[in-house]
Symmetry: C2
Subunit: 122 residues, 2 copies
């Protein structure tokens, strides 16, 4: 059972957090063949926090979890905070393989996304 | 002469800003056929600010400028701040058609990008 945990920063603005939850729902509809379990999590300021997101995946029966940082820049949150939280949480789930994906901004597809967004205007 | 102004939030962390400038350089190398002029700009905290980015495009001979918000969420920055700055700056360039593209997070390709990033780990 493969799980995907989409992790955003979290905002004081509810609408921003709702967008991330909605994105996880869209992923769930579109990628259920690749990932049996998909949840959204937040680094701070919003529920569900990352450790609880990992617990949700585990409770759903995950045998592996990919933590996907929904961040554009490789800042402290991506380089330190998320890895540290995952490192602290992993020992509670010895039977689950938990890995962190590259953050969104590092994707090879970013060029295509930027050009597609730019062209959507003209 | 079509110009693309990639607009990020701007960070106190120099490396984050450098990543955006580097991304604009990569766009310049890959998309010079579609956009003759490509610059990076920032909403705050970093140079070049948006009005100066628009000026750079104008100085380079732009006849149209697409302002592309490098943001994941449709927060206040995307909905209010960037449009307001563009609205205030546009009258200084009456001969240039300045438009704002949808922010990155709204792209139809976001699903593909997320899945591609998740799969890069496994």
């Amino acid at each position: 059972m493969k799980a995907l945990l989409l992790v955003a920063h979290g905002s004081r603005r509810k609408q921003s957090n709702d967008e991330v939850v909605l994105l996880a729902e869209r992923l769930r509809k579109n990628c259920s063949e690749q990932y049996n379990i998909i949840h959204a999590g937040f680094l701070e300021l919003a529920e569900t926090l990352i450790p609880d997101g990992i617990k949700k995946c585990a409770d759903d029966g995950a045998t592996s979890i990919i933590v996907l940082p929904y961040f554009l820049n490789s800042g402290r949150h991506v380089v330190e905070d998320i890895p540290n939280i995952v490192k602290d949480t992993s020992p509670h789930y010895p039977g689950i393989d938990i890995k962190i994906a590259q953050h969104l901004g590092a994707s090879d597809l970013m060029m295509d996304l930027l050009i597609s967004s730019a062209n959507s205007t003209s």
